[in-house]
Each structure stands twice: as structure tokens, then as C-alpha cells.
Amino acid sequence: MEFIARDADGVMTKAVLEGLLKSMSDEEEVDRAKWRPVLEKILSLDRGTNRVLSIGEGSAGRVVRLRTDFSNIWRVAVVVLVVAGGTWLWSLRQGPVAVPRSVVEQPTAPAVDVLPGHNGAILTLADGSKHVLDSLQNGVIAKQGATTISLKDHKVSYAAGAVSAAAVTYNTMSTPRGREYQLVLADGTKVWLNAASSLTYPTAFSGQERVVEMTGEVYFEIKHEAKPFLVKVNGQTITDLGTRFNVNGYSDEPATVTTLIQGSVRVNDIVLRPGEQAAFISGGGMQVSRCDTSVAVAWVNGRFSFQNAHLQDLLRELARWYNVDVVYEGGSDKSTLRFSGEIGRNLSLMQLLRILAKTEVRYRLEGGNKLIILPGN
């Protein structure tokens, strides 16, 4: 048999060849449950049910547009021509009469729109006092011991004074649905909180370790220090030494997912390398895989990003950002549609839903906070 194989330098050594020929007779048990998702991904690749959502520029500057189906445009154009032609003929026969209002009127029932989320959070100080950070101006918010808490450009930062080990106090920053927030911790670590998330942290890091606790979704850019930085989330601990990573630990998501962008982190006792993702399913163990990190951190750059996402995955994210409740009617939660692409988070809900409608999702918005998904998707 002619066999084409080389090592990395283009050389086919005897040892390499022997190893290969030997391994061609190898067979090993494979875990079907582990390999099924790969098969499904391959088969869904060219199914065409995967809707391209993207509009505008991708985060990498690549423009991906929602393609227009021209066959439909012609169908619409024909309908418009027929209606216009019919109206014209009719007006000829009737002479100049007022066209009935119902023909002229656009369907402009003032539909309620929902504005996208924006900056804002609630800061709970050690003494239990709460400060709403939507409306505060720049300046010093509070002094706690030696630490000054100040607000500038919608970012809270902590400047540690002379640190006395005795006086460590904890603050909690939390965002409701429809709000995100950035802050800088006392060690210079930068933190982004997505909607419906919280972070509890000391106002000064005086111990042997820097420990914070979070819920929801948080992106970290850790300031490198000899002291390790520990993140506690849903019963797991992420340890790192100077790096950038994202943790998605929403309680309504199937798994707590840690995505490493740069550097190195340890999730419980598994070490991740850049571009890897650890999914921790409570009671189900840990799964590490390579991933497209831009999907996980798209929100930090003000974008939604989906890769082969189910309708429900997509809507959970919209629910948190637009502060709406999603109701599935008539089995619409069984939709087999998948979505891929990126969209800015600054669109209003109606603008975003209009893009979704082009992908055949049918919906109704009620009372400005209830999104009903209709069957037939």
C-alpha cells in the first residue's frame, strides 16, 4: 500500500513508520457518549437550519452580514406590484376618491420596545449600606478603613492605603438583569460583571491569598502578584497567577464554564491552557475542550455571540440582558433551530427580534417584559 506520511520536518523515519503501521492494527474502546456531540456537530454543519444572525462588524473586524434571500425579495416585490397595480386600476375607475385609511396606514401600532441593558450596579458595603451606581457622579463614594472607594467613568476602583491585616472588610458588587458593570479591585485586577451577577471581594488584599466569590458571569484580568488569586463559584475554585479568563456560572445554565484567554488557570485541580474551556456540571464532573474564546468573551466587547446555539440558549442570554421573561407556547421550546453569529448588545429588543424573525422565529412581546415564543419555529 502506498502510504503518505511524514513527520513535522517532512521526513518519514523508520521509527515513525513502524509506530504508525503498528497503530493501524490497534483498536480501543471509545465512549460513545463522549463522541456523540462531535458527530452531531459535523452533521449540523451543512444542515442549513443554522441561522446566520450576524449584522455589522464581528469583533475581529470581519464583516458578516445577514444575507438577503433574493427569491423572497422578488416574491415581496411581486405582491407589492400587484397591490399597487390593483389600487391604481381601482382609483382610475373610481376617480379621485379618498383611499380608505386602512389601505394607506402602515401597521404602526406603537409596539412597546425594550431598551438594551446598560451600565449600573448596586454596591453593598461592609456595614450593609447599599449604593446604587446608576446615577452617582465621579468622585469618592466612601472610605472604609484605609481604603478609598472612588467612582470614575462608571468604574469603581479601590485604592488601598496602609494595609492593616486586622481591618479587612468585604464589599459586594451586584448587577440586576439588564445591567453590566466594571470595577478595579484593590490589587489592580480588572473585573467585568455581566447582567444578573455578583462579586464579593475584600477592599484590601492583606492575606496570603486573594479570594473573591462570584455568581453569574464575570470576566477577570488578574494583576500578576506572587499571591495567588482564587475565584469561588458554584462549589468550585479557580486559581490563577496573572491571566485573563471568563467564568459563566449562571444558575440557569447547564454548566459552570471557565474559558481561559491568556496565561494559565487551575479549575479545581485541572490546569487549563489558553484557548481551553472547562465545563463543570454539578454532579457530572468536568469536561475540558478547545474552544473559540471570542464567543465566551463577546459580551465584554458589547456583543452577543452564538455558536450552534439552541433557541433556548440564545433566549436565556436575551432574558438577562433585556430583563424579559421568556414563555414558550405550544412546544416551541422543542425548536430544532440552531443559531450562529454575532450581534451588538446595544440594539433594542425589537431590533434584535426583527433579525430573529428573519430566521423564522415567531414571537409576541407582551407588556414590555414578557416575550412569548410561538410554535412553528
Binding site: I4, R32, G48, S71
Partner: protein
């Protein structure tokens, strides 16, 4: 005859050529136990093995219209697997040389090496290709992929001959492959030869 593995492979290939997902799943699970250790032997990496297995079967699936011409399915699959795995080693070697060079010039920071094309990018290109197909071709293609109809069923529904449907599906796949190749998704092992 049914116990003859060559016969079974060829039978699977013929069914996959008609767009049969079940047959593709059978082939996948039949060859995983052999291709997983084979690719791991070449790459010495557990993590990239999963990625490369995916790559091998994506290539098989996207060339399904041409599978009936393969004389020896087993040899052909090993050939694709080795092509994909050695291509990976080659890219990795280049990546490491670049990394070493970057590390020599600046003393910190880890540049991210971009993988070839992510599944998400493939997905976007394939979706756009489907949307850009001429109406008739897309209609036939979607009956095959979305509704899972066989070539004969599509022919019956549209009043076409099975051969016309088969050719149309072949054109649709060739169209998708062309879009992928224009975006830099190379199909090296497949270009070499079809017959073994």
C-alpha cells in the same frame, strides 16, 4: 457476504453518498476505535485528537457525493486521517517557530496562535453558501439535509429523475467546498487521489 467488512464499508459509503445520516453515524462509530489511537500515535496529544477526528469526518461528510468511487474505504479513511494529522503537526511546528521568535524579541506575553478555521467559521461559510445557491439547487439540497429525504424521495416529490437529483446534490456540495476552499479551508488529503 454481510460479514465481509469491505462489503459493509462499501455499502455504508453508498448510503452516505445518498445523504444517509444514520449510515454516516455507523461509519463514524465503526472507525473511531481505530482512528483515535492512530491519530494519537501521530500527534501524541489527547486534546487535539478530538479536534482532528472531527476534521477527518467533516471532510468525509462534505465529500459524500464522491464516496461511491472509493475502491478501498478503509485505506482511504486512514489516508485522510494521516493527511489531517500530519497537516496539524506541520502547522504546529510553524506555530512553535513563530512563538519562539516572538519570545526571543519580547520577554513576556503569550500570543494566541489562531487555529486553522474554527467550526464556527466553517458553519458561517457553509450557511452563506446554502443561502447563495440558485433556488432549485437549494430546494433539492434542503429536502436532503433538512427533511432527510433520500434521492429517490426527492426525485418523486419534485418530478425529477434520481440522476438529476444526484447531480444537483453533487453540485450543491461542490459549491460549498469551493466556498470553503476560497476561505482557506484546504482539503489536502483528498486532492491527492481518489482511487487506492
Amino acid at each position: 457476504m454481510a460479514d465481509n467488512p469491505l462489503y459493509e464499508d462499501k455499502e455504508l459509503f453508498n448510503r452516505i453518498a445518498g445523504g444517509d445520516e444514520g449510515a454516516f453515524g455507523d461509519l463514524y462509530y465503526r472507525y473511531l476505535p481505530r482512528l483515535v489511537p492512530f491519530i494519537r500515535e501521530i500527534t501524541k496529544s489527547e486534546l487535539s485528537t478530538e479536534e482532528l477526528i472531527q476534521d477527518v469526518f467533516v471532510r468525509v461528510w462534505l465529500h459524500r457525493d464522491r464516496l461511491t468511487g472509493i475502491v478501498s474505504p478503509r485505506a482511504w479513511l486512514y489516508k485522510i486521517a494521516s493527511g489531517v494529522a500530519f497537516n496539524y503537526l506541520h502547522r504546529k511546528a510553524i506555530g512553535e517557530r513563530v512563538m519562539a521568535e516572538v519570545a526571543r524579541r519580547s520577554d513576556h506575553s503569550t500570543p494566541e496562535i489562531m487555529p486553522e478555521l474554527t467550526m464556527r467559521e466553517l458553519q458561517t461559510i457553509v450557511n452563506e453558501a446554502i443561502i447563495a445557491m440558485p433556488d432549485r439547487r437549494r430546494q433539492v439540497y434542503e429536502l436532503s439535509r433538512r427533511e432527510g429525504l433520500s434521492i429517490e424521495q426527492i426525485a418523486g416529490r419534485l418530478g425529477l429523475s434520481p440522476n438529476t437529483v444526484r447531480n444537483t446534490l453533487g453540485h450543491a456540495l461542490a459549491f460549498i467546498r469551493e466556498r470553503l476552499e476560497n476561505s482557506g479551508y484546504i482539503l489536502p488529503a483528498l486532492i491527492l487521489s481518489w482511487m487506492l
